[in-house]
């Protein structure tokens, strides 16, 4: 039966940018009712970021909060209400919503919500078994708890930037929202385990997540080398400890590349066979993994001479048929002409009332019984004030209107 896993779970999000919004979006994929609390006074900045689009996009500041494509991508399936939390009445309303909710998600700077009276302790009084997650760059305790950060910031503090980039180039902090979404996933994971625990014990809890810690956990194998042997690993492009060839090779085309990784002699022989058994591939210095790694530069040069005369699609096809791990470096364009992703239904479309038809990426997992689904576009600014304050909290239209006038609901 295709029930929605988190049907009946309600989450309130006081989020901004990527980490907070993706955390609750992940819950929304599975049917949780996520109420995003926004206010014109402190909007989620992604509502204002736009891009000129086209081949040479430039960032533009939007005037209409409902026009941001990026915002849509990160707030699917959610509801939106307006509350100017600088006003005590708004804080009361927020608490009322919390009273009928199971999860709170917030990624403001540590202490901001506490000062507004919406701390974990405050919410626990109205909802003892609330699961309250706050995510921030450095966590909500410790000397640097007030430090703020975006993806490249906690990517760098966590140790990822140092080990990414060309060996002879500067460190390469993570691009776009990548690491934010990783931390969002980590938050979703912690929330679900807390829900499981609450299902068995009836108890909620406070989750204090530090984004830079999450990143450190994901690169710990390189940090382990320091702990064990005092050796500080640094960036080396696509290279690996031992696999060779193990890099991207240029193909026929403007900026087309194929990634090839060979782990053992059997795959090497298959590779040599697939590219027509050239003489150089028979040379002794390439006959086992140890020697291939030692003669890596020469090997890369020779392989590039072959890949440059084929398209990246041909190379992937030839090598995969021979059982060799070769995948071309997808540009965003490639995704939408890829037969595999088409069959797996990686993308879907939503009809956004203001922007129009938008392509969005489906949740990345396929569940046989309870699939995650995208059911609606991101909410317009304050779109669900009436539903939440009216139906959920049982307020009359007049009360709601009065609060809007007082710019409490604002």
């Amino acid at each position: 039966m295709t029930g929605r896993v988190l049907e009946g779970i309600r989450a309130v999000e006081f989020g901004q940018f990527y980490v907070g919004p993706y955390t609750s979006e992940a819950l929304a994929y599975f049917g949780a009712e996520v109420i995003k609390v926004e206010s014109i006074r402190r909007p989620d900045p992604t509502r204002w970021f736009g891009s000129t689009g086209g081949p040479d996009p430039k960032i533009i500041i939007l005037t209409d909060p409902n026009k941001s494509v990026g915002f849509n991508e990160l707030n699917l399936n959610k509801l939106s209400v307006n509350l100017d939390l600088t006003k005590p009445k708004a804080v009361e309303l927020a608490k009322k919503i919390a009273e009928v909710s199971d999860v709170i998600v917030e990624n403001n700077r540590p202490g901001v919500l506490d000062r507004l009276g919406l701390s974990y302790e405050a919410i626990r009084e109205v909802k003892p078994d609330i699961i309250y997650l706050s995510a921030s760059c450095r966590g909500s305790t410790g000397p640097e708890r007030n430090y703020a950060g975006f993806a490249p910031i906690f990517g760098s503090l966590g140790g990822l930037s140092e080990i990414t980039g060309y060996a002879d180039g500067p460190p390469a902090p993570p691009i776009g929202g990548r690491t934010d979404i990783v931390c969002g996933t980590a938050n979703a994971f912690s929330i679900i385990t807390a829900l499981i625990h609450r299902e068995m014990t009836g108890k909620g809890q406070y989750i204090d997540n530090s984004d830079s810690e999450v990143i450190s956990c994901l690169v710990w194998d390189t940090i382990m080398d320091y702990n064990l042997n005092g050796r500080i690993q640094t960036r080396r492009g696509n290279k690996d400890d031992i696999f060779a060839p193990h890099d991207c090779y240029r193909c026929k085309g403007e900026d087309d590349w194929i990634s090839i990784a060979i782990s053992n002699d059997e795959e090497w022989r298959a590779f040599a066979g697939a590219i027509g058994n050239p003489d150089w591939a028979k040379e002794e210095r390439f006959q086992d993994a140890y020697l291939r790694k030692k003669n890596e530069e020469e090997l890369d040069r020779l392989i590039s001479q072959w890949t440059i005369s084929h398209t990246k699609y041909e190379v992937m096809d030839i090598l995969q048929k021979a059982g060799v791990a070769a995948v071309h470096s997808f540009s965003s364009k490639d995704f939408f002409s890829d037969p595999h992703l088409k069959e797996r239904g990686a993308f879907t479309e939503v009809e956004h009332p203001v922007i129009g038809r938008l392509t969005v990426m489906n949740p990345p997992w396929k569940l046989s019984a309870t699939p995650a689904e995208i059911v609606r576009h991101a909410p317009l600014f304050g779109e669900h004030n009436n539903y939440v304050f009216g139906e959920l909290l049982g307020m009359s239209q007049e009360e709601i209107k009065a609060l809007m006038d007082e710019q409490v609901i604002y």
């Binding site: 503090l157 068995m200 997540n209 194998d221 080398d225 696509n238 965003s332």
Partner: protein
């Protein structure tokens, strides 16, 4: 003794290297009972990867294996033998969750598809993690830790703000990408388990590593159909400036995204003349004249240490970072105070520092209580106590190559 979030959850892991084992580690470190199956003889390939303690390449001294397999019971089993398969199915009956990462055809070959396993354990949650998922033309394609980020679009965008398009796109450092896929798989697994608690029904979870990593670049990817923009590592992949500005003793990363950030940043730099230009006052202006702005910033940063810039700007609320290497991560007072470093005692490697886990959970904290298992360390516990085989059976099975 604090509660454990996943107390009583029983997980069978038939996976190796990074992604699968990291996924079940996340469950194990929260109290799930995880039995990890390794092939007799060599065991998990991670045992053959460094870093090795004192560079002595011994299968019980791999830091990678130790980190990825804390809190697990380790057994050896060859499920391709007749008896091995029978034992696998007995373990299946015991398990709530199966985490496996074998090629779909291989699982079919030994008759361990979800349809078959469902008959034996209707409530089973089976999480299959493969490079391209369980169906579709690339279903049986091979891909290592290098290929996945490139197949998911992240590679094409890395390094961001690259000065030279002639150079190859890059994967993330270490096994970062494989870890992410493991985290993603763990998340959907516990979601499926939550559903099982409520309804009692299990299901098959198909995790394609490609799609799990694509989710990270969802905005850049969908910019193409929505805005006809193809982000590259040279153009349009990051609003936060190009390569990190160098300073006296390393690199920093300054993200003065919002206007008030920019104001604080100018003040910290002592309001240099070039910064007064109004074109920099707004985000779109800073984005359009990014190169000019960054050249000036780099001139300034070269005159300061990264600590000065990091603490100075963060003190003023401007999101800034030092590019930390392993030594700096390990000596971070912030991590120290939050109890991020945990010592794990390993029989062969002695005390090794591991991270506490993702965040601080007030009631059910992460608990790194046991080190990674030696190869086959819990054979007796699982085969005799759990499954009831005699010790003599075990000797025969070892001699027959079954365990």
């Amino acid at each position: 003794m604090a509660d454990k979030a996943l107390e009583g959850v029983k997980v069978l892991e038939y996976a190796s290297f990074v992604t699968g084992p990291y996924c079940s580690k996340l469950l194990a470190d929260l109290g799930a009972e995880v039995i990890k199956i390794e092939r007799p003889g060599g065991g998990d390939e991670a045992r053959c990867r460094g870093p090795f303690l004192n560079d002595i390449p011994h299968p019980e001294r791999s830091g990678l294996f130790l980190y990825l397999n804390t809190n697990k019971l380790g057994i050896t089993l060859d499920p391709e033998t007749q008896t091995g398969k029978k034992i696998f199915l007995e373990l299946l009956k015991w398990a709530d969750i199966l985490i496996e990462d074998k090629p779909p055809r291989e699982m079919e070959g030994i008759g361990l598809t979800y349809d078959k396993l469902k008959e034996i354990n209707p409530q089973l949650i089976m999480t299959s993690i493969t490079p391209f998922g369980q169906f579709g033309p690339y279903q049986d394609y091979k891909a290592y830790n290098l290929n996945i980020p490139h197949g998911a679009g992240g590679g094409y965008l890395t390094p961001g703000g690259s000065p030279n398009a002639e150079r190859e796109p890059l994967k993330g450092g270490g096994f970062f990408d494989d870890h992410i896929a493991g985290l993603s798989a763990a998340t959907v697994t516990v979601i499926a388990f939550y559903h099982r608690i409520k309804t009692g029904s299990g299901q098959h979870v198909d995790v394609s590593k490609q799609e799990a990593l694509m989710a990270l670049n969802r905005t850049e990817i969908t910019n193409y159909p929505n805005m006809d923009t193809i982000a590259t590592r040279v153009v349009g992949s990051s609003a936060l400036g190009r390569r990190p500005p160098p300073c006296q003793n390393g690199y920093v990363q300054i993200a003065a995204l919002l206007d008030w950030h920019w104001v604080s940043f100018k003040e910290f730099m002592g309001n240099p003349r070039w910064a007064q230009d109004t074109k920099f006052d707004t985000l779109d202006g800073r984005s359009e004249y990014g190169n000019e702005m960054n050249d000036n910033i780099e001139e300034w940063t070269r005159g300061h240490t990264k600590e000065e810039i990091f603490h100075g700007l963060q003190g003023r609320g401007v999101p800034t970072a030092m590019i930390c290497n392993a030594a700096e991560v390990m000596s971070s007072p912030q991590y120290e105070e939050r109890g991020f470093f945990v010592e794990v005692e390993h029989p062969e490697m002695g005390k090794v520092v591991c991270p506490r886990g993702l965040g601080i959970l007030s009631r059910t904290p992460w608990a790194l209580e046991h080190p990674a298992p030696l190869l086959g360390q819990h054979n007796r516990e699982v085969y005799t106590r759990l499954l009831g085989y005699t010790r003599e059976d075990m000797v025969r099975m070892r001699e027959a190559g079954v365990i």
